[in-house]
Symmetry: C2
Subunit: 191 residues, 2 copies
DNA sequence: GCATACCTAGACCGAATGGTCTAGATGGTA
DNA sequence: TACCATCTAGACCATTCGGTCTAGGTATGC
């Protein structure tokens, strides 16, 4: 799981426990595949708390959980490119970090966003939200690319290609139950 | 939708109608997001027929539907590389065909396999099945690559990269509700 | 002390879920 | 005609679903 720095592992409050449990379960079993009862059980929260913190219920929680995961991903992107000499090096670090993350979680979790968001109840809002999150990842990556010397157009293209590839590789990795494909990306793209 | 050549558009029998409806709905709303009632209504079949043709019920149907979609994809791969002068040309045709397919269906369907299979009831069997299907696609693509002159290792790598990229691009295309990303793949990889 | 806002707690509900079961229609064969 | 396998038909069932509602606890301010 992606743990953003702003949320430690200590016993969190009810709201945070709901978010992390929901994020984990949605990634593992999908939105419709996860029941409220399961989320409630894992986060040791009663139903009343859920509907207090997330008045719109399940869909509300899913959106917030996706944001939380997204935040973690942005932090990983930043950490990967922070000390990189060029874009390829940063991208390589990025892939390795993700592969490690994949292995850490019994290698089953879906790409952070797609499963959470692609079968939401209301296609419109969920799709838009997923789009925003993915776009943010690409934008952030492109920003690092520019800082490492690429022209705007090249940076955008490199960032889009990298994230698309990671997205697809993550899917294949899950099907194969192996992070190998993710680790192979740098060789594919820059080798 | 991917329509394999072996199944025309004329009024098919109950079993085939169940498969096509299930495939469409699972791709649109996911496995758990689609109810049996919905599939039954769309295919104008009673419950008895479903459990006659697919004794194991929903999961059985999902597996067969995935196979059917997979068959269609293999035919598209073959058609794309049949008259290609080199691998890049075949891959370009492949991407264009998929983009057209994406546009044809109100641009919402998920990548053929991932959504159908990633939130199945039994992780083991479903994951394995998805893996088999994806591997078949890559194998078939690699075969065409070899016929077009690539060495075995290069062919495998090129096929894996292409299919990974398509997988990811399809996801992003769905989030953006636009097939543009899919069309851009050839420029990214071979341009 | 009291009051107030915030949060927890879980009983309860109608609707929808996947799945089972029996009855009947249908077509081929003798 | 009788017979039999194949398939259609849908009533029916237990369970689970997401969501509502009321009541109780708890912290903070006066």
């Amino acid at each position: 799981m992606v743990y953003p720095a702003h949320m430690g592992t200590e016993q969190a409050n009810t709201r945070d426990r709901l978010i992390t449990s929901a994020a984990r379960l949605f990634r593992q079993k999908g939105y419709h595949g996860t029941g409220l009862a399961e989320i409630l059980a894992e986060s040791h929260a009663p139903k009343g708390s859920l509907y207090h913190h997330f008045p719109a219920g399940k869909s509300d929680l899913a959106l917030v959980a996706a944001d939380w995961v997204s935040q973690g991903m942005l932090e990983i992107i930043d950490a990967s490119f922070a000390d990189a000499a060029d874009f390829a090096e940063g991208a390589t670090t990025f892939c390795h970090k993700l592969a490690k993350l994949f292995d850490l979680n019994d290698s089953w979790q879906s790409c952070p966003i797609s499963t959470i968001l692609f079968d939401g109840p209301d296609n419109g809002a969920f799709r838009t939200h997923a789009n925003t999150i993915l776009t943010n990842w690409i934008k952030r990556t492109s920003l690092h690319a520019r800082e490492l010397g690429l022209e705007k157009a090249d940076a955008d293209a490199a960032a889009e290609l990298l994230l698309i590839t990671i997205q697809g590789a993550w899917t294949l990795a899950r099907a194969r139950a192996s992070s190998e494909v993710i680790r192979r990306i740098p060789r594919h793209l820059y080798g």
